[in-house]
Symmetry: none
Subunit: 237 residues, 4 copies
């Protein structure tokens, strides 16, 4: 087993562990879940600071005090929201990555997963992007560590691609990861803020092309098939 594959497998194992912690379907009879679901809705809608615990309690149909049975304080409740999702997302990505060969193909799939999951879980995404990410505490939280596993997976795939010759050897994997995640995020913000619908499929294409071939004049050098998949590179004669 080649070295890089082993490493990738390690990352995947960790991600799997996260995925394993997933409570797949929220039981609405479970108070804890009801509270988290309400928190997600309202935090996403009004922002952390402008949401009151009373509102969440009302929405969850529990007493205010009950919230403090399950969560030490308001911020803990905020951090509880992504927990389930991160496990679920890890699962989702690992599932979709199955059977895909090639670093670029995997990255393309990850871009699709990312945008697709965002689109289908706007409240979660809003909370991650607009509330949690701006909190310094986040970067010491377990949530961040779990997200780090995902980020490491991307880096592993890039490293694997470099080893396989599919990706240029002098590329800095961390920068590429930042490029992938940063681009997705930057593209996403307007529709997070304005609740716009976006055409995922076109976006995956555009983002993938941009990331894979950068600004290089494509028609001169790169062969791209109809699906936008890089199939080869030619001198445009």
């Amino acid at each position: 087993m080649p070295d890089n594959t082993k490493k990738l497998n390690d990352v995947q194992k960790n991600l799997s562990r996260v995925a394993g912690g997933l409570k797949p379907n929220r039981d609405p009879a479970d108070k804890r879940e009801r509270i988290i679901a309400a928190a997600e809705r309202i935090f996403a809608q009004k922002g952390y600071f402008e949401t009151t615990v009373a509102e969440i309690a009302r929405d969850a149909q529990v007493a205010e005090g009950t919230i403090y049975e399950y969560f030490a304080n308001k911020k803990d409740l905020l951090y509880a929201v992504p927990e389930n999702y991160l496990a679920d997302y890890a699962n989702f990505v690992l599932d979709h990555l199955q059977g895909i060969k090639g670093a670029l193909n995997k990255l393309r799939k990850i871009i699709w997963c990312h945008l697709s999951y965002f689109r289908n879980h706007k409240d979660f995404t809003k909370i991650m992007t607009l509330e949690i990410r701006i909190d310094p505490d986040y970067y010491r939280s377990k949530t961040y560590e779990n997200l780090k596993l995902y980020s490491d997976l991307i880096i592993q795939i890039i490293t694997e691609g470099i080893k396989d010759g599919e990706i240029g050897p002098h590329v800095n994997p961390h920068i590429i990861r930042d490029m992938i995640l940063g681009t997705i995020e930057h593209v996403s913000i307007p529709w997070l803020v304005f609740d716009r619908e976006i055409p995922i499929d076109n976006l995956v294409e555009d983002v993938s092309i941009a990331i894979f071939i950068g600004l290089a004049p494509r028609e001169k050098v790169l062969k791209v098939n109809l699906n936008g998949l890089l199939t080869g590179i030619d001198v445009k004669e």
Copy 2:
């Protein structure tokens, strides 16, 4: 004068107008400026919601009421912080762009300007990235309009590059802009949060390469000089 140059000039004219509004000397005797300076420091340090107006007043050495002589409310004060900077930054970029030819060279310079300005104005950057950008009101503010001019400048340069054949014709300029800004932002976040020092020069290189040539195996296709500038494209024999 070619069409695209004219358009670029239009954008530059708008940016210049913003730059013209700059109050260059932040005179510490000027109360308004003292208040803004204090706000910048504390908002950056503790976040908007966890900063009290009293704290800012103390730091600015004015009475609490004085703040309300100059700003209608706390949020107005928040938005006053970037105002000066945006004008200053516009100036900075336009100055550095002088005499540079070629879309890629201009973009590289913009990446440098961006990272460099961020590094030298961390508090401003933190406030923009972590506080203002997540506020829906921002997207209707004058601050946003000013930043839009900058964003438009990037798009103009990309469009110009496409016209000149320096950039592939099928690239979506908006995505590229998102890629540039998103990558820079994503790269920046750790040192915004952890106050880490970073080697700008290496970063400009890495980011530029990532953006310009994407993941394509360079040694096979692209000729890049030592500065990372794309000088030609060959079939790697």
Copy 3:
């Protein structure tokens, strides 16, 4: 059943409904009542605007926040003060009116009730006269509607008196009502402001005479033409 009696009964029915809403025992253990009682005392003493919510809280021996559990804001608390009293007063008047025959006798009783209740509830009276009545919002409040029922009762009695021939036919019932209420109020103001004790019994007499026979020399006969203009005075034989 004669028509006017029926109308009077209607008014009485409405007044009774108000009276039915009365919370008769102002249990001092009940926080809401304690707050209202404190508000009554302090609003009466210092006026609405010069009373602070903190003062009321202190006096009621509750936390400031507790007040906002029961009342939406300071003004709501002000309006809560007369609510109980109006119901109580309605009860009081209806009770005392029982068995009395004749419009003038009823009006005399009402004058007595009014002055007597005022004397026994000075704080309430001060708040009604000096605080609430000057607020335009009052005239759209439920408090006003309840008071209107009382005012209507007076008009009904006057109308009834006219029908029965006990009261002159060309009298304007609304003016008479204003005369009754206005006189009482004007007489009351000095002892509201200066906390003077007054001899209710003499006052009821004096006010009743003034209202019933005006300035006419008693035992004389007034000649009044159809327009109500005084045309002459005869010595009654």
Copy 4:
């Protein structure tokens, strides 16, 4: 000269002194007058406590500090508003009373003066009725003393009427005065609050009749015993 006439003259002399202090036409160039005029407008419109000194300054087109050159504080400014008016009103009444004979005719004229002046000076009336009268300080103020002179004039006229046999001998002049002023005030309040227009002429009639002959059936004869108790009613043949 009869005794009562002498007393009346004394009262008139005092009132005249007040009237003499009148500054008859406000010079808009005079800052003091401009400030008072602005205060009158805004106090009437929004109430004392909800008016800010800054607003008055703006309306008067003077600096905030200038107000404190002329008035010790906000409340002093409030009390300055009626000062001019009371002198003017005293003048107005004394003028209109000239040549009128008979207590009832004089009272009727005073009722007319009162209502008429109120109608033509709504802002002043609002301030007197809704702001000043509820303030305990008022009853120790010079404003109150001046108004007292007016009130005394009414009592003098009533006393004179009793002496002349035009008014019943057992009437309490203070009560009658309260009846006159109270009725007018009670009638006025709705149009003060709602800015309604009212038909003064009809009102003077109605109020005069109500006050002069009370509830007695006109063209009937009231039998009243020495205590003023109504003992019977005769149809005047």
